[in-house]
């Protein structure tokens, strides 16, 4: 195992930063997802919409966390990412004032851009005319700005991009970052994703297409992956940032690795704009590609952090995928029961949770799994955290557009 990881250029996760509905900071996030207590609640800013429940980051105060200037200059989607990146770098023990920034890349995922900035500009044009529009809209609405702000804050002068594969964006970002490290283009990559979708327009639109849970009378029970009574996802805001380095580099500087990223696979369904291909052929290609990249057999996977959105179609299709391909009967969890679905950021925070799961040997329970769907036969962890020694795990993300991405994580200590 050791020879294989080094030879194939395993990438180490040396820093984690999380800003999610489960809390600000990795320690608080880990406690909350292990508790299985859902974050969804009625959201005053969505009052009057047919679905007015969502998962917000509790107590997020950008002025206190980033300074008063960043509080008004930046859209929330960038603020979330900056706070997560601050934590990830501190966790990795890296000092941006001391590094060669030309060798540091930033790859983030995002789906919707600065939704609040866009909505404010739209309202200003309508109500005040073009002269009422903020001059900062075009440095906040476009999705590329998120990684641009990280480059500015951390003097990260290497390749800098935001990738968009809808709800797979976070995993796509980590997979892309791995390419930059393995090819030698970068020595360090800040990889992850951010999403701040809780504005009225996207929330109304997700509801119109039937994607959101309509359990507005009982928000805490609304996100219930793999449960028989699931009826859609609960939207969330979040950011997750990982510090990634080649394993050999991390080892050379004495850095602690939470886990290793050893495989990545991506594919497209080519089937439908929003519905998953019920045959699962596309997601299976991504999963098998990730296994092949990691040089692992399907039976080697001990654990799955599922996409598990709490929609009827995804959870059934995904459980069938796991049963069909991963022959070692892995434990399965969906942390979305706690966090809700952070769309483009979901993959990033879930890769972080998967890394912590591998590192700690403890699988977080899937919240709200009260009545397992009889058509779902995988081993979903529910009720309480389950201790499990995990050598290898997968983290799945599937996006609208039929875009699929899977990562393989392995224990840093098992080699």
């Amino acid at each position: 195992m050791a020879r294989r990881s080094v030879a194939r250029g395993a990438v180490a996760v040396t820093g984690i930063g999380l800003v999610t509905p489960a809390g600000i900071g990795t320690a608080e996030n880990w406690r909350r997802v292990l508790s299985g207590v859902p974050a969804a609640a009625r959201d005053p800013e969505l009052a009057g919409l047919p679905v007015d429940i969502a998962c917000r980051v509790p107590g997020f105060d950008p002025a206190a966390l980033l300074g008063r200037s960043q509080a008004w200059r930046l859209d929330r989607v960038s603020q979330l990412a900056l706070v997560a990146a601050d934590e990830a770098l501190a966790d990795a023990g890296l000092d941006p004032t001391a590094w060669d920034g030309a060798r540091v890349g930033v790859v983030l995922g995002n789906a919707l851009g600065g939704t609040a900035s866009y909505e404010a500009a739209h309202d200003a044009v309508r109500d005040e005319g073009p002269g009422g529009v903020s001059a900062l809209v075009m440095v906040n609405w476009p999705i590329n700005m998120i990684s641009g702000y990280l480059a500015t804050r951390f003097r990260a002068g290497g390749p800098n991009l935001v990738v968009a594969t809808a709800c797979a964006s976070g995993v796509t970002a980590v997979g892309t970052a791995r390419y930059l490290l393995r090819s030698g283009v970068c020595d360090v990559v800040l990889a992850g994703a951010s999403e701040a979708p809780l504005s009225r327009t996207p929330m109304a639109a997700y509801h119109r297409m039937g994607a959101l849970s309509t359990r507005t009378d009982d928000p805490a029970a609304a996100s219930r992956p793999f449960d028989a009574d699931r009826n859609g996802f609960v939207a969330a805001e979040a950011a997750g940032v990982l510090v990634l380095e080649r394993e050999a580099d991390a080892r050379a500087r004495g850095a602690r690795a939470h886990a290793l990223v050893t495989g990545y696979g991506a594919s497209a369904d080519g089937h439908h704009p929003s519905a998953p291909d019920p045959t699962g052929a596309g997601v299976e290609r991504a999963l098998r590609a990730a296994l092949s990249d990691a040089d692992l057999a399907p039976g080697d996977i001990d654990h799955v952090n599922a996409h598990g959105t709490s929609t009827k179609l995804n959870d059934l299709m995904e459980s069938q995928l796991v049963e069909r391909v991963l022959t070692g009967r892995p434990s399965v969890t969906s942390t979305k029961g706690v966090t809700g679905h952070a769309l483009g950021a979901a993959g990033a925070i879930e890769v972080a949770y998967a890394a912590l799961t591998v590192e700690n040997g403890l699988v977080p329970p899937t919240a709200n799994l009260d009545k397992p769907d009889p058509d779902i036969g995988v081993d979903v962890v529910a009720g309480a955290p389950r201790p499990q020694r995990i050598g290898a795990a997968t983290s799945h993300s599937f996006g609208f557009g039929g875009q699929n991405a899977v990562l393989v994580l392995e224990s840093a200590g098992s080699r």
Binding site: A63, G67, R68, S69, A71, W72, R73, G131, G132, S134, A135, L136, V139
Partner: protein, 88 residues
């Protein structure tokens, strides 16, 4: 110039500017004097358009901050605002 600077610092228009900079733009009052260079309090060209928009909404007069250079001071901003509201 120091005399002129200190004399404008007590005017209602100057007070209005420092209040907006403090409350909307996170720049503490104590950091703002007439001689403060706008760049030094991180008011770049885009931020100045925002400041102009905020002043315009409060004062009901058009403030064209686009004409300010990078080395402009708060006193220069004051002159723009003062002219816009019809002061001397």
């Amino acid at each position: 110039m120091p005399e002129m600077s200190s004399s404008i610092a007590t005017t209602p228009v100057f007070q209005r500017i420092t209040t907006i900079l403090d409350e909307k733009f996170g720049i503490p009052r104590e950091d703002v004097t007439p001689d403060t260079v706008l760049d030094d309090i991180e008011l770049d060209s885009l931020a100045l358009i925002e400041v102009g928009l905020a002043l315009q909404k409060q004062l009901g007069a058009q403030v064209r901050t686009e004409d300010l250079s990078g080395s402009a001071t708060v006193a220069d901003l004051y002159e723009l605002v003062n002219t816009a509201v019809g002061g001397s």
